[in-house]
Amino acid sequence: MRHVRVHGDRRVHPDVSIVIPVVERHGDLKQLHSELAAELSRLEKSAEFIFVVDDRLRGAVPVLRELPERDGQEIVIVLMGGPFGESAALTVGLERARGERIVTLASYFQVQPSGLGPALQALDEGADLVVGRRFPRIDSFFNRLQSRLFHRIVSRMTSTDFHDVSCGFRAMKPQVARELNLYGGMHRFIPVLALSHGFAVREIEVAQRTEDRGTRFHGTGAYLGRLLDILTVFFLTKFTRRPLRFFGLLGAGLFAMGFGVDLLVVIERVFFEVALADRALLLLGVLLMVLGVQTLSIGLIGEIIIFTHARKVRSYHIAEVIRSPGSQAALTERAGTERKIARVRNLR
């Protein structure tokens, strides 16, 4: 029963956890696995494969069960109870991963497995998260155009500079996996979120596979969803702790616009005798002012929520606490951390 995880294990952690969310579509999983397994053997890394299968693709489970298990490589299959999407699948996979390094990959042929080595090396060199960039792109012109447009907006809104956030190939340290809180469409913004947590993020170029070149058209809903995701990330990374800065600016702008419009109408009434009752513009002005105050007050609610609930939301992230090795505080602290880790494991 290879899909049943033994709890509370005392085994050595594998070098690498490979998390593969099988959501939406998948390629030949057998070939995907064997290529990766071969590459990992070549790199002399022990590994665990974690396939997280979305309910819609449960047909993939029999194939996964048949995968041959190599020496020092374990296979875990997790079947999701419903169609929860890629972010949820990734979260489940990352929670289960016990490797010293965690790699996520798309369940279809996206990049060459040869990118694995350089990514792991970049982690050893000090990066906390390494994201792949398919380069050079061999997609159709349309694919590249929509990707270019998407990334232009993302980098403008989040003041970051990533070229391929949609690439499923990422390598990270366990600390990053623990802190990422993914839901909805947030998996696309893993590098942006990690950066806002203070992690060192590096982008490396990986060779794209020919199977990945087909043109993909998405429905209007998908594009609108993407835009909304960008807006969410923009808001969350910049204004989580200061919601009033965002809503306040927006609300004040709307209010000022409405006030200006109404001022104009009133001036025309006083000096040029244009009857107010005939002006639809007056209505627009009032509407804008009301909208402005409502936006502002929503921001105020947000601020009150942060002020009264977010005692634990800290404005900083600690990389490490350094003490002299012999100090009493250092000893107790270390014991405490170990206990905490043990408790977290048992919960899984």
């Binding site: 203070g198 209505l283 009150i304 002020f307 900083y316 600690i318 990389a319 003490r323 100090s327």
Partner: protein, 324 residues
């Protein structure tokens, strides 16, 4: 529990940390108390961390908190406050401009029954135009808005009672007005004149350029302290002008309705405005109720914002000499 925690935010202070540690150690040892030193590295990019490791290895009373990246002085201080184990917490700059020999004065003033003791760099050794003038303007402004007139909000050398400072929630650029902010929540503040020395190494990393953000934060904090104690009331206050507007628009609509000649053109503008404004005032009132709910289920306690007569009370030392 220790007697004293010393918190020092550091950002690219490679040259000064060793001398800083020696000075602090000498001063703290001279006080005859149990102390710890919390050095917060705010994402330095020079050799600061390596120096800190050396210091740490030789002294178990020193703890270094290294940030993942640069988060600013407020976050660095907050991290220090969060980890402090002393009954009193003293903060100072990492650039050697503050004098650790002032610790004794700060602590003895704290013992007189104050929650916050602020250093006042009476003879400030900085450039007049670029540093001192903007700072004077900012201090005046902060004093006007909060009603807590402090000469030198920008001085990092301050002493706090631990239980008071651990309750404070800092964000943005709040380290610039710790005292006014804490006095808004009922803390007793006092100023004492401290020594100030010219910079020996490096250059200043924390300027006053973000004064407008400071000001915005200040207004928000003042408002929040009022809001969180009576949220529904304040939303209702916000709704009042809209309610007045509703009545005015309604009156106008009725007036037009009565005066329009039979068969004449009837305008919908004023009835619409009436509805819109009525809707807005209802919306605000409802939001007020929602915010009551938010505050009630939160971890916010009224004791965090005790606002009795003490609020804003600052005992100022007569300028000139320093009392010991």
């Amino acid at each position: 529990m220790l007697d004293l925690s010393i918190v020092i935010p550091l950002y690219n202070e490679e040259e000064s940390v060793a001398a800083l540690y020696e000075e602090v150690r000498a001063a703290a040892d001279g006080l005859g108390v149990d102390w710890e030193l919390l050095l917060v590295d705010d994402g330095s990019t020079d050799g600061t961390v390596a120096r800190l490791r050396e210091i740490c290895a030789g002294d178990p009373r020193v703890e270094v908190i290294r940030f993942r990246r640069n988060y600013g002085q407020t976050a660095a201080l907050q991290a220090g406050f969060d980890r402090a184990r002393g009954q009193a917490v003293v903060t100072l700059d990492g650039d050697l401009q503050n004098d650790p020999r002032d610790f004794g004065l700060l602590l003895s003033t704290l013992d007189e029954g104050y929650d916050v003791v602020c250093g006042w760099r009476h003879d400030r050794k900085d450039k007049m135009v670029s540093r001192r003038l903007p700072s004077m303007a900012a201090n005046w402004l902060i004093g006007r808005v909060t009603g807590t007139a402090i000469h030198d909000n920008g001085c990092t050398l301050k002493a706090y009672r631990s239980d008071v400072v651990k309750r404070a929630r800092l964000y943005g650029e709040m380290h610039r007005f710790m005292a006014p902010m804490m006095s808004l929540s009922g803390s007793r503040c006092r100023e004492v004149v401290v020594n100030h020395r010219a910079r020996r190494f490096g250059y200043s990393k924390y300027g006053i350029s973000r004064i407008w953000k400071v000001f915005l934060d200040l207004v928000v904090v003042k408002m929040l302290l009022g809001f969180t104690t009576r949220p529904a009331k304040w939303f209702a206050v916000m709704a009042v002008p809209f309610l007045a507007g509703t009545l005015l628009a309604l009156a106008t609509a009725v007036y037009i309705d009565l005066t329009v000649p039979p068969g004449g053109k009837y305008s919908l503008v004023f009835p619409s405005i009436t509805i819109l404004l009525a809707f807005a005032s209802a919306h605000l009132t409802i939001l007020g109720l929602l915010s009551e709910l938010v505050v009630r289920v939160g971890d916010f306690k009224a004791s965090d914002v005790v606002l009795p007569s003490l609020a804003g009370a600052v005992d100022r030392e007569p300028s000139g000499g320093r009392s010991q």
